[in-house]
Subunit: 149 residues, 2 copies
Amino acid sequence: MGIKHQKFMTEAMKEAEKSLNNGGIPIGAVLVKNGEIIGRGHNKRIQLGSSIFHAEMDCLENAGRMKSLDYQNCIIYTTLSPCAMCSGAIILYKIPMVVMGENENFKGQEQYLKDNGVKLLNLNLDSCKKILGTFIESNLKLWNEDIGI
Amino acid sequence: MGIKHQKFMTEAMKEAEKSLNNGGIPIGAVLVKNGEIIGRGHNKRIQLGSSIFHAEMDCLENAGRMKSLDYQNCIIYTTLSPCAMCSGAIILYKIPMVVMGENENFKGQEQYLKDNGVKLLNLNLDSCKKILGTFIESNLKLWNEDIGI
């Protein structure tokens, strides 16, 4: 994997770890524009009692209001394949590329993203699989709630 | 239209009007479970400087954390056809039906919703078209930002 992608995925992982340390679901994301992190976030289902603050959504929210042109120069890094909601947000704002840490614990709407012209790169990282996989083993009901099962 | 649908769409319109009165984009939504409103909300792009609080998202967030089975007894009422993000959230949580006020000011991911088994009903209401249409005329840049154009 490119050094650049590794660096930003490490930041997304820091967000996942922050969530875990706060008792939350360990998924993290960062939004990068022209090589600079402009938003970061993590899943806050537990922390905020939230149904919409998945990692990517929290990250987009923390990036703040932006124009469509700004999103077109962005890459979103997320430790997990994006679900339907997060994929929808990525498509709404026409973010052209998603770099994910893994898609084994959960595979989101990857075909839908591709069909809408979003480029996907799966780094397939053991670190991302392990932090979430271990969490899911001990929190299956909560996890199913998070992915709408 | 059924009296039931009219009643809940009127509540969604109240949310749209509340947003307008607060200087925001006039789109509203309510989530109804077994004939009872369990969440309501409106677009808060302006009010919160938010990129994710569309009406449907605010409504889902205000309904709080719920299990998948609970969503399966829900209908979401929204004054406008749901965008990709909101459609994604509806699909994630498997909400089986969307009742919309109109789809002339904006037509969202209706086919994608249908393809995922979501039932759609468009009430095609002049009141919904007018409140948003008038707003868009005076706030086109803001509106384009909201729909990712």
